[in-house]
Amino acid sequence: MRGRSALVAGVLIAFVALVLPFVHVTLPVIFEGPLNSAGTLNLLGLCFVFGALALSYDLVFGFTGLLSFGHALYFATGAYVTAIALVHWHWSLPQALVLTALVALVLPLALGAVCLRIQGIPFAMVTLAFAEAASILVLQNPFGLTGGEEGLALGSGTLPAALVGVSNTANLYWIAAGWLALTCAVGWWAVHSPPGRVWQAIRENERRVIALGLNPYAYKLASFVLSGFLAAGAGVAYLFLQGGANPQITTSSFTLVLLVMVVLGGVGTLWGAVLGGIVYEYLDFRLVEVSNASLVQSLPPILRVPLSEPLFILGVLFIVLVLFLPEGLGGIFDRLPRRLPGRPS
């Protein structure tokens, strides 16, 4: 029964998200402009992108138990490969997307094949090192492709007209929402499929999986590649929403932020990860505005400085969550119904 009510809730949420660009309502405090203003839609689109990204990371980290510190690499792959094909090689959008899809399959396959030969924390360190190498590469601006520190902006004429301009933000929003929906569907299907159950078995007890006669390596690689591919798609949506790729998304700090998102929402739950990604991006965005508010600016420096650093607040929140609420925000909601008396479970 739970599955059906979750499905109904999912369809309802998807419907609300779909029609949002037609709703001219202002939610004071929560969003600055009306719901269908370009700024709000852009923020919501980014929230969806990070929701999808967090979910893709949760597949590998939460469901398979692989502590990868290189997930930013695949997100950045989506953004940069598409941007390079569009800007430098003047490919059409479909061509660029096909190339990105290919790279987004081959790259995690190759790196995963290498990294997964080791386990545990050394695995985490190697994935971190590969992501760092990619980050260095992007910053070095090889052959002038990546634009180095300045990033790579999508100039005019590189995207179809329907994806350009403030008036078309709704289209970008739908792309982000669509990718999130697709990621949710694929993620749900994957973790409920037989291989997905093996992932969770590997997370719980890898030796037992071996004892049962299965080869964990192939399953882990499948999880790694699927997760990398979904992350790359989120990277493409990010590229559209931001109008360019920037080197911040390649850094190791970005992967750490991703980890924060997933833990924020709840490790090993699909909707928890999505929630974590959305909440994180929303807070990160809004906290900057809170810090510019006159109330905060009038505080003495000892209070003002920490409050005007979103990463400080999120980092502290993260520590508190890890210490006191290991199940994440999703855990709160999971706990609630059981506390209500007289409810049949």
Binding site: R117, M125, V126, A129, L137, E309, L311, G315, V316, L323
Partner: protein, 294 residues
């Protein structure tokens, strides 16, 4: 020839910095199985503490300023690490992934706080005249800071090896790296050894924080992160838990970076180090000196 000597000694100096950060990481990992992402934060915070101490004493003897900065940075690193271990790591002894996550949070929060408080621009560090000068070695003008960093790192290496091999606590730590369950089964308080190892790691990272500022001549909030990643690479190449392995790997990584960044192109050295890491892990997953604790 002179370029070669300059690159060699500068690379060794860089390796010395990596070693100071990596030694603590390696011991912490070896004994506690904690991957400490906050180590870069120890480095940065201690570096700033040393910088401000040194700045507060301006007007006194430059050597006194520098030494005071060095001592305060080292102690700050140790104190920060001890507090981290007691406050954040101890409550999570039964949750290894939680321990990693909590250090990630601490690293993010601390970095943001340092950047917010002191700004992200590099600041010039006041150094004694000798440290700002260069010495002539085989026709190459070598900045004296390289020698200072190298000498101190060698002393730390010797001190750590003596501590691990010749003292009772060193014995406990080595035994703990070998087999933690057995050590606690023998009735030894491993938790105290945990706090001790974390503090030692923090002291070394703090020392490295100020020495890093000396080596580069400036201090900024972001260097701790890149140091941390280099140190991770050093630790894995050297073998998790091995101090000697970390020392050897630090030298290899430092030299490789310097030479390739100069002779090939900027960035190639950093890239090569990562490839070396991948190669080592595939050929010798335990690292160069994996399995031994000193």
């Amino acid at each position: 020839m002179s370029t070669l000597v300059l690159l060699l000694i500068t690379g060794l100096g860089l390796g010395a910095l990596y070693f100071l950060v990596a030694a603590g990481l390696s011991l912490i990992w070896g004994l506690m199985r904690v991957l400490n992402f906050a180590h870069g934060a120890f480095f940065t915070v201690a570096g700033y503490a040393g910088f401000f101490t040194s700045a507060a004493l301006s007007g006194t003897s430059p050597w006194l300023q520098w030494l005071a900065g060095l001592v305060v940075a080292t102690l700050t690193g140790g104190l920060f690490a001890a507090l981290t271990e007691i406050g954040l790591i101890q409550p999570l002894y039964r949750r290894p992934v939680g321990q990693v996550l909590v250090t990630v949070g601490l690293a993010l929060a601390t970095l943001a706080l340092v950047e917010g408080t002191f700004g992200s621009d590099p600041r010039q560090v006041a150094l004694p005249a000798w440290l700002m000068a260069t010495s002539n070695v085989l026709g190459a003008a070598i900045p004296n800071t390289r020698f200072a960093v190298l000498l101190i790192a060698l002393l730390v290496l010797a001190g750590l090896l003596f501590f691990l091999r010749r003292t009772r606590y060193g014995l406990i730590i080595r035994a703990g790296v070998e087999n933690r369950a057995m050590v606690s089964a023998l009735g030894i308080d491993v938790q105290r050894a945990f706090t001790l190892v974390f503090t030692i790691g923090g002291l070394a990272a703090g020392l490295a924080g100020f020495l890093g500022a000396t080596y580069y001549g400036t201090i900024d909030p972001s260097r701790g992160t890149s140091m941390l990643i280099s140190a991770f690479i050093v630790v894995v190449i050297g073998g998790l838990g091995s101090i000697t392995g970390s020392a050897i790997a630090a030298v290899i990584v430092g030299l490789l970076q310097q030479f390739l960044n100069f002779y090939a192109a900027a960035g190639v050295g950093d890239f090569a180090v990562v490839l070396l890491l991948a190669a080592v892990l595939l050929l010798r997953p335990g690292g160069l000196m994996g399995g031994s604790s000193s």
